[in-house]
Symmetry: C2
Subunit: 153 residues, 2 copies
DNA sequence: GACAACTGTAACTATATTGGTTACAGACGA
DNA sequence: TCGTCTGTAACCAATATAGTTACAGTTGTC
């Protein structure tokens, strides 16, 4: 969802978007979007403005925002985690398996981060464009649509 | 938990373990263990036997079981997933973001699988041994403990 | 200055997933 | 045939995430 949101904002260039517009594209509630935007703003990926002409837009160029930035902004845990309750401390395996598994989890997390660090929002937009031109309109093949006006929905 | 279970069995060599013994090391309920063992048995990683002298043990040598085998046996999904409800089909971003994100998720999953495929249960046991010898006993530095007898608990 | 349209945020509800528990049928060795 | 296991169903509990309602605070506009 977070990648979707930032992709929308890149698509909208420097125009700022309201949480309700974003929510319509993501197909969820505006509050869910605003919650996420707060997290993204804390990580300096978007800037938001309150008030009647408020809204949010990217804080940096799309090529300067990686999926790793987004992942770290909205996810607090790695992809795997250990037993929810600690194993038996009186078993030689149980007492030490966590140490070994944490090494493995670190390796996994590094691999994931390596992939995400090499993909930017600009890349996502680039990969999106061919889909859009074939999927949406044969009438205006090269024209960017007014993506987010409320009339579209 | 699954890695813990198979590590225990590797530690126990060819001795077959009862679900209750395993549950004690993992610190959970024997039924949770049996459920997991059924999944592992379907993937031919363990063999179990019913009856009064029953129990489970590894179906292959520890060096022939990778963490990827285990992951695929017990996890049905990749590490990330898409929006729980599909985005707006009338938005050019919403309608196609899933396609692009699925490519990314495939890249991430491949990276994770690459890491897991290169670690075997034997590796885990090897990494465990130094911990055990320092952590458990200075009396019997090189001796493997009777890990799983009920008396240990 | 009053109003309308936003964001930020709290509090609550809904849903899904996972783990834990109880119970019991069936397998199997002694 | 009895005791001790596994396999499995059914249910409960805990957790995490998404969705909802409500409202205070901000800001441009008239």
């Amino acid at each position: 969802m977070a990648v979707h949101v930032l992709t929308l904002m890149a698509w909208a260039d420097d125009e700022s978007l309201k949480s309700e517009q974003v929510a319509e594209s993501v197909n969820t509630n505006p509050v869910v979007i605003r919650r996420m935007l707060c997290e993204l703003a804390e990580s300096k990926l978007v800037v938001s403005q309150t008030g009647s002409t408020g809204g949010s837009k990217l804080a940096r160029q799309p090529e300067q925002i990686t999926l790793l930035d987004i992942y770290q902004a909205v996810e607090s845990r790695g992809v795997f985690s250990l037993h929810r309750h600690p194993p038996n401390r009186h078993c030689p395996v149980g007492v030490n398996i966590g140490t070994v598994l944490n090494q493995v989890l670190d390796e996994v997390d590094s691999a994931v981060e390596g992939v995400l660090a090499n993909i930017t929002i600009k890349d996502v937009v680039s990969r999106l464009k061919p889909c859009v031109s074939t999927a949406v309109s044969k009438r205006k093949p090269a024209a960017k649509q007014p993506v987010l006006s409320a009339r579209n929905y």
